[in-house]
């Protein structure tokens, strides 16, 4: 026991030293990443067999521009991606080109990235979805895919219920009425919902927002002027609660994972509708194993507020950015441009089914869902939840679970969200 004294003393000394404070552990972050003849790319896509063709096309395109520069793709596991990236950013060195999700994930880390405005001007017209990669007017990444929240529906179930599968409801009341018919005839629920991670509410907010908020309210929200006490905003959360209370959702939503249990329930016909995604997972091509493309429809958000103008909610989904510590930002941004070349993106669309950011790609063979989505991109607007900080989104997830379990009121939810949104 006497032997432990030096230990304890060391520990106390260490703590004292720390409390006194002697600089940051993160350091100034000035060291550089890869050498100039080698570029390191971090992503969570290149290991996927569906992305092999895409990576190959992009590499070939880049090799034409810079034959002497090696490109190394390092596929990280997505679960750990931002944890690993955070460590790299803290140490001020790491990959030269980095894949990001649009919105909060890239904006929170924009300090570590080089603005690309001067390099990507030629691509501005060809690609869509820039907003999600823009902070304070500066572009930090080129969009690869578009990510958004179409409402998919199972045409088979609609047909079985005696409804016209090619004319989905235009208003919320009709939509709920149709759901009642589907449930009565087929036993399938209205929405397949997975809210275990709190993702369900994000999809809900963004898919239905344009059918509830007036265009002015919508644009204000995106611009950062969010009025959490407006009756229309409140309506979105009330509908969420009502859908839960009136049994529109699949059972046990709070313990069902959106990926992939909720999508599996939609696939297997347990629910007639699902708010899904456009790219990566949970989209039309993902359903194809059980629901062939012609059986999957996409409907416009059913109108709740007559003053609203429903539109597709989408943003840039994923995009490549350039780290600020890279030796030659010009070369790195050329790689980013290769990664978003039309040929590469076309391969990504064909192999993975993602809706690519390149609006010139021909998607005619994709089936009715893709056709509806692509035609809606032109009039689409940024998704509401993407404008929120990751902290507010996390809180919203937990509050949405409380709304479903009935342990909180809509007013309390709005109050807490408003407070969180204010502090960012």
């Amino acid at each position: 026991m006497k032997q432990r004294t030096p230990w304890t003393a060391t520990l106390v000394a260490a703590l004292a030293l720390t409390a006194a404070g002697c600089g940051s552990a993160s350091g100034p972050g000035n060291s550089s990443g890869g050498s100039s003849d080698k570029l390191v790319v971090w992503d969570w896509k290149s290991g996927d067999a569906k992305a092999a063709g895409y990576v190959q096309k992009a590499k070939a395109d880049f090799a034409k521009k810079h034959p002497g520069v090696n490109v190394e793709f390092v596929a990280q596991p997505f679960d750990q991606y931002y944890t690993l990236l955070g460590a790299a950013i803290q140490s001020g060195k790491g990959p030269d080109v980095i894949l990001f999700n649009g919105g909060g994930q890239i904006r929170d880390r924009a300090d570590a990235l080089a603005p690309l405005d001067s390099y990507v001007a030629d691509d501005k017209q060809r690609l869509a979805g820039w907003d999600a990669f823009t902070k304070d007017g500066k572009i930090f990444a080129e969009p690869v895919t578009l990510q958004g929240h179409p409402i998919y529906y199972n045409k088979d179930l609609y047909q079985k219920a005696g409804l016209n599968p090619d004319a989905p409801a235009r208003t919320w009341d009709d939509f709920v009425k149709n759901c009642g018919a589907v449930t009565q005839k087929t036993g399938a629920k209205c929405f397949s919902l997975g809210n275990k991670e709190g993702i369900g509410i994000q999809f809900w907010l963004s898919a239905l927002g344009s059918a509830v908020l007036t265009p002015q309210e919508y644009d204000d929200w995106i611009a950062g002027k969010r009025n959490w006490s407006s009756p229309d905003v409140k309506k979105i959360f009330e509908l969420w609660k009502q859908a839960g209370d009136s049994g529109l959702n699949t059972d046990g939503a709070n313990s069902t994972a959106m990926f992939n249990d909720a999508f599996a329930a939609f696939n297997s016909g347990k629910a007639a509708n699902i708010i899904g995604l456009m790219s990566d997972v949970g989209h039309w091509k993902d359903f194809a194993e059980f629901l062939t493309p012609e059986k999957v429809g996409v409907m416009q958000a059913p109108l709740v507020n007559p003053a609203a103008k429903p539109s597709l909610a989408y943003d840039g989904g994923i995009g490549y950015a350039v780290a600020k510590w890279t030796k030659d930002p010009k070369v790195a941004s050329d790689l980013v441009r290769s990664l978003t070349s039309t040929d590469a993106l076309k391969a990504f669309y064909l192999d993975g089914g993602a809706i690519a950011s390149d609006t010139t790609i021909d998607t005619a063979e994709g089936g009715p869902a893709v056709k509806t989505i692509v035609s809606a991109v032109k009039t689409g607007k940024p998704a509401l939840h993407v404008a929120l900080s990751s902290k507010t989104i996390d809180l919203m997830g937990r509050l949405s679970q409380q709304l479903l379990s009935g342990s909180i009121t809509v007013d309390e939810v709005l109050q807490q969200l408003a407070a969180s949104d204010k502090t960012g």
């Binding site: 030293l17 404070g21 993160s26 300090d111 991670e197 046990g252 313990s255 249990d261």
Partner: protein
């Protein structure tokens, strides 16, 4: 090992500072053996250096860096000293308070987690029919990774899963095991106990091996019932084993439930299954607040230190009783 090594350095340092306040060269009386004594003095240091360097370089120094980092800011204040701001944020964060409350709950559930393997080991020791099979079966989950265990129980405990189907057959309404904030934490802890009690069971069985069988025979002769035998003979003889299992189970509960929480509930529903570890991970990886995460891990470290020291104290006192 370090405790031992540091203590053996003591005489050396005492020797060099304890004498007359002389500069580097050794004091006159030692002149004859100077070369020999210097080598003797240096040898332990040289021999210890690798171990000490590894511990200081790979353990203590990162620990100090981490603690130091917890006093800096995130985002715009990256690298700036912010004093105890992060710790105040932690105290004000209902999620972190939930995480701490859950730690308290784990401590309260500890006796249950120890009693289960203890009782089962007793049955095996008393050679209930089929005890050999049970020994293997009970240990089996201990070799599964938490991710696999979590995935299995995700299926079993799903709202439309087999357990609820069984309950439905008995006329009991379905329970949302992982979706009800009042139930979920117990479900996760229950699964954790299920997955890990095999290890404690083995320790108990080892303890039983040292049990004096004449005591048991004497109890049998005296006509003691099974509960009486357990309470008056087995439990007192195994007190050290029980304490050891208490310590290891506690450490297991506090440090290795991340996998289960991650797979089974993702901290939900409503944040009710947050544990400090999970909080650290979320703040660092999802919220991009490494300094706040650092503060949370320092807090977790302090909790572990207190719990660990308390338990070592208990163990030592038990050792004295022997």
């Amino acid at each position: 090992m370090t405790a031992h090594s540091l203590s053996s350095v003591d005489p050396v340092t005492a020797g060099s500072t304890g004498g007359i306040a002389a500069p580097r060269p050794a004091a006159p009386p030692a002149r004859r053996n100077r070369r020999g004594s210097r080598a003797e003095r240096l040898a332990p240091l040289v021999l210890l250096a690798p171990a000490v360097l590894i511990i200081v370089g790979l353990r203590l120094w990162p620990l100090v860096l981490g603690i130091n980092f917890s006093f800096t800011g995130d985002g715009d204040r990256d690298g700036m000293m912010v004093g105890f701001d992060n710790y105040l944020t932690l105290l004000g964060d209902p999620l972190f308070r939930t995480a701490l409350r859950n730690v308290g709950l784990l401590v309260l559930l500890l006796p249950v987690a120890v009693a289960i393997p203890g009782l089962l080991a007793t049955f095996i020791f008393l050679k209930v029919p089929g005890h050999r099979v049970y020994r293997g079966v009970y240990f089996f989950p201990a070799v599964l990774s938490p991710v696999i265990v979590g995935a299995i129980f995700n299926l079993l405990l799903a709202f439309d899963g087999p357990l609820n189907a069984l309950l439905g057959g008995l006329g009991i309404g379905p329970v949302d095991w992982l979706g009800d904030p009042d139930v979920a934490i117990f479900a996760v802890v229950g699964v954790h106990v299920w997955a890990t009690f095999g290890m404690a069971l083995v320790v108990f069985l080892a303890g039983f091996a040292t049990l004096d069988s004449s005591l048991l025979d004497a109890a049998k002769v005296d006509g003691a019932s099974l509960p009486q035998t357990i309470w008056h003979v087995i439990v007192p003889s195994l007190s050290r084993t029980i304490q050891f299992v208490f310590v290891t189970t506690m450490i297991g509960m506090l440090t290795s439930m991340f996998g289960l929480v991650y797979v089974m509930t993702s901290g939900g529903p409503e944040g009710s299954t947050y544990l400090p570890e999970y909080y650290v991970w979320i703040q660092q990886g999802q919220m991009n607040q490494p300094a706040l995460a650092s503060a949370a891990s320092t807090a977790l470290f302090l909790i572990m230190l207190v719990v660990g020291l308390a338990q070592i104290g208990i163990l030592r006192r038990a050792g004295k009783e022997d």
